[in-house]
């Protein structure tokens, strides 16, 4: 029975791979196949959430692949499957017929399958594998319209940024293996120091990168270049959620490291605050929503750091519903009105009231207005925060009401200008998807009642604060938006550039790396290869030197010997005169010489 668990990530991964390979020929079948596969996957996820299976296969020596479903995984797999299915249905409705559907739906299936594997893995090895595959498919999805170089460039940035952070997981895996010989997620908290700190640091780095926490947030801004369904998926239940999930899952590890828990909590709180502020000053609806994703995920990270795991997980789920709803609505307006600029969307919510109402539900939930879902989950996520963290998080919550209010009043505040031309009309299926998503966006907070281990000691004072702050901030946003949302120029410029984080990364990481690479390439050509060529040249020169010097001397010697021999030969011919008397004389001289020799020697 447990083997069926492999189908949960396996089915979408396999189907996605096939669709990608089939390519254009599969365009027509792609959408129905993808929806059917995801529906089956959702069924599997529901089954797994109830049955709680686990599975294991041998993979590398001593490092098997293990999957299991526990409370946290159950929540995650159902959320992922449900949100992906709805996003796919939306895509079926909104995707132009001439697009490369097979590639799109195939990649989305791969992406969803990788996320499902990430959240059901119980060992770092399958988790890391799925984690990286998710990054690669997000690259391919962001760069989906590959003819536009700028989109491809943002995709490259996204992949390289997240992969830079992923190196933390590689190092963490190596450290865990060195310390305890196992990569089981449950065993990580028991790793002895100093490896423990390496593991905790690596995990935190990887999660911060994936979740677009500071200082990695910038990649998320560029990731808007993909189709709207991709943004909806990337920002809700997958990709950015994966980092928060990992920290929630490994909350015990962070706590046993000592420094990890506090660092994580403050990282989340600061990201929530700073990116919340960045979200407030965006003029582009999708950019506003993107910055708010970083900020909201920051609250989940805070929850992981403070050990409020259930609260963080619930916030992840409510945020997934809300954010996919808001992104898909933005997508509807982009397709039918041709813009995602808040100024040009004035009154858009009144053009199609049902769409507008769904957006309003999402925005109010995002603002944290009681009793909507994100109000509940946010307070539960903050349940364990100490006063310092709690104050920062409260400020972040106020900012979320401001940016949500800005988006909401931007599209609702004015009457729709009837003279404006529209380029399309939302399909019924798309609107239906939005309405379905609005339900959990508003009401998922009731899940808090059934989640078992929620902290019961939320202070009355805290509840009061959160009940008052969000509506007050929303009111402020209304007043501000009515004046046209004026901003000091510096704030507007820096905010729209996301604090220049991308430029910083480019200046201090990318450019120096390229400069080093070029310098090394020149070094390689001139010095390393040059030395070898010089050696070769030297050999040739030595050879010709030998040829000119030693060779000539040797040849001269040989010539001299020959010459000498010839001379001797000529000299030897002289006595051979043929005259007998001369021979006698020669013999006499020789005999006398021999006699002298004998006398001398003997």
């Amino acid at each position: 029975m447990s083997a069926v668990l492999w189908l949960l990530p396996g089915l979408p991964l396999l189907a996605g791979g096939v669709l990608c390979v089939v390519g254009r020929r599969g365009n027509r079948a792609a959408a129905p196949v993808a929806v059917a596969v995801l529906a089956a996957t959702l069924g599997l996820a529901a089954w797994a959430a109830v049955v709680r299976p686990s599975a294991r296969v041998p993979f590398m020596v001593g490092l098997p692949l293990r999957l299991a479903v526990d409370d946290l995984s159950a929540l995650m797999i159902v959320t992922v499957a449900a949100v992906t299915l709805l996003v796919l249905l939306y895509s079926v409705a909104e995707f132009a017929a001439d697009e490369a559907s097979a590639r799109f739906f195939g990649l989305v299936l791969l992406f969803a399958g990788a996320m499902l594997l990430t959240v059901s893995a119980t060992s770092l090895l399958p988790l890391l594998m799925a984690w990286e595959v998710m990054g690669a498919t997000s690259y391919a999805l962001i760069a989906f319209w590959w003819r536009d170089t700028w989109r491809v460039r943002t995709a490259t940035t996204a992949f390289l940024t997240t992969r830079a952070a992923d190196l933390g997981l590689y190092v963490a895996a190596g450290a865990a293996f060195a310390a305890v010989g196992s990569l089981d997620l449950g065993a990580l908290a028991t790793v002895p120091a100093p490896w423990l700190h390496v593991v905790a640091g690596g995990v935190l780095l990887a999660a911060a990168g994936k979740s677009a926490q500071l200082p990695f947030s910038f990649w998320l801004s560029g990731a808007m270049a993909g189709p709207s369904p991709v943004s909806a998926l990337l920002h809700s239940a997958t990709m950015v959620a994966a980092g928060a999930y990992l920290l929630l899952r490994l909350s015990p590890l962070l706590h046993s490291s000592g420094w990890g828990a506090g660092t994580t909590a403050w990282l989340g709180a600061l990201t929530a605050l700073v990116l919340g502020a960045v979200a407030c000053v965006q003029r582009d609806l999708k950019q506003l929503l993107a910055a708010s994703t970083s900020a909201q995920v920051g609250l989940m990270v805070l929850a992981a750091g403070t050990g409020a795991v259930s609260g963080g997980a619930l916030h992840l789920a409510t945020h997934a519903a809300v954010k996919s709803l808001l992104f898909l609505t933005a997508g509807v307006w982009l397709v039918s009105l041709g813009s995602q600029d808040l100024a040009r969307l004035a009154g858009a919510a009144r053009r199609w009231p049902l769409v507008g109402a769904a957006f309003a539900v999402g925005a109010l939930s995002l603002a944290g207005i009681p009793p909507l879902a994100m109000w509940v989950s946010k307070d539960l996520a903050l349940a364990n925060a100490d006063p310092g963290l709690w104050t920062v998080a409260l400020a972040a919550a106020a900012l979320s009401a401001v940016y949500a209010g800005r988006a909401l009043f931007g599209v609702v505040g004015q009457a729709w200008n009837e003279n404006r031309t529209t380029v399309g009309h939302p399909t019924r299926l798309a609107v239906a998807v939005l309405v379905v998503l609005a339900v959990p966006s508003a009401g998922l907070g009731v899940a808090a009642l059934v989640v078992p281990d929620l902290p019961a000691d939320v202070q009355g004072f805290e509840i009061l604060a959160s009940v008052v702050v969000a509506p007050a901030a929303l009111l402020a946003a209304w007043a501000w938006t009515r004046q046209g949302a004026p901003l000091p120029t510096a704030a507007a410029t820096w905010g729209e550039r996301w604090l220049g984080l991308r430029a910083l990364a480019e200046r201090f990481v990318a450019r120096p790396t390229h400069a080093l690479a070029r310098a090394l390439a020149v070094f390689d050509d001139r010095v390393v290869a040059g030395a070898v060529s010089a050696l070769g040249r030297g050999g040739r020169q030595a050879a010709s030197a030998f040829d000119g010097g030693a060779e000539r001397a040797v040849r001269g010697l040989v010539d001299a010997v020959g010459y000498g021999a010839r001379k001797l030969g000529r000299a030897a011919r002289r006595p051979q005169t043929g005259q007998l008397h001369q021979y006698y004389a020669q013999a006499a001289v020789a005999l006398v010489l021999v006699a002298v020799l004998i006398v001398l020697v003997v």
């Binding site: 020596v61 799925a130 491809v152 992969r163 010989g181 690479a517 070029r518 090394l520």
Partner: protein, 497 residues
Amino acid sequence: MLTVVVFLPVVAGVLLLATPRLPDAVLRWCLVAVTAVELVLVMVLWADFPGAAGYRFEARVPWMPSIGVSYHVGLDGLALPLVAMTAVLFLACAVYSLRETRRVRAYVALLLFLETTAVGLFAALDLILFFLFFDLSIVGMYFVIAGWGHRDHRRAALQFFLYTFIGSLALLLGFIGLYLAADPHTFDIADLTASRPLDGAPLAGALVLLAVTVGLAIKTPLVPFHTWLPPAHTEAPAAGSALLAGVLLKMGTYGFVRIAMPVLPAAWRQYTVVFVVVGVVSVLYGALVALAQTDFKRMIAYTSVNHMGYIALAIGTAGIIAGNDAQARQLAVTGAVTQMVSHGLITGALFLLAGVFYDRARTYDMSSYSGLAGTAPRFAGLTAVGAFASLGLPGFSGFIAEFQIFTGSLGAQPVATALAVLGILVTAALFLLALQRVFLGQQRLPAYVPTFGDLRVAEFVAVAPLLSLALLIGVLPRFLLDTIERGAGAVVELVAR
């Protein structure tokens, strides 16, 4: 049986050479047929490979008994995967070469000759036999580059030949040192492994290891002995590049695990840090220099230096015994051998794909192209798959290799391994930038090229199976790792003696 596998290609090559008046098309298909039969034979061997450690399919015949040389071949868990990878890659190159038109008879014979030298080297259990195949492979590759290369190929071929030939002389010097140290004198690898003649002689051991290492490092190649590689690769024909990278480079790395580690364990343990350092330098240096290249084929060539660096790192850390448990060492060596197989498949595929550039537009310069995915979607798709496989994406064989290397090495060499991990980020950057420049964006071609055609059938059929195999190993690695782990476990034990 093994002897048949070793000599089948060259015998077939000689027969083809001797048979007059065969049309070129028949010759090309004969090459495919012979390499296919060879692959089938290797698969038969694989199926018959037992679960135990030690050599299989052994054959030993005295050859020059007066100096202790015998024809001794056999396969273990290290050799068999490389023989199989060689057979696969030769078949792929044979299919790719169905479009070769220049001096086909000689080309076919030469490729078959090369296959025998490669299979023979991986099967050799005698130093002189090993050296013989090592040298003959250099000769064969010299003619491939000089005869069928392009642009500045004669010079590149000569440089390749002289450089690696000098390396082989160093290797021979080391082998003679081993022969003299052994008592009784022998060149037999199995006997030398058992007797470890130089373990009691630190200085002689160090010198012999130095000679062997220089010889193998040139062939591998490791920094700083790598400079023959880029020109040789760039100027060789596509199939030649694929074989050079896929098979011939492995002769160097294989020599380390087959000869240097088991025969000279004491010296290896003493100087193992040198391999770690050279490995890390090769990883980072190779990746960074590749990042700066503008020529696609040169870029791939430098990534080979990077990939071979991981192997050096792994076998280097496997020599560290203190505080490094056997499981980690085995993981590292398994990763190293997996990397040899994986690199053969992936880089072989990438070099065959690089050949498409030259075939269509006579240049590898990346700035000449843009947006090729529009008219050549299959070419773009396969190159993208190859690129992601090469940058170590999980799901492909490269990840299986590199993850094992990192995880097995980090405990013994944390700083070096952490630096080496950076290599996968740089390779990711260089491949993504290359994809972005060449395949994506608006289409742009050199002015003299009207259109850029997609992959032809032969090209597709040659490359796709290589990448599929990389995918198979990446997802279901057990069939390969079962074999490699036995060989790696043996090496780890031999080094620790």
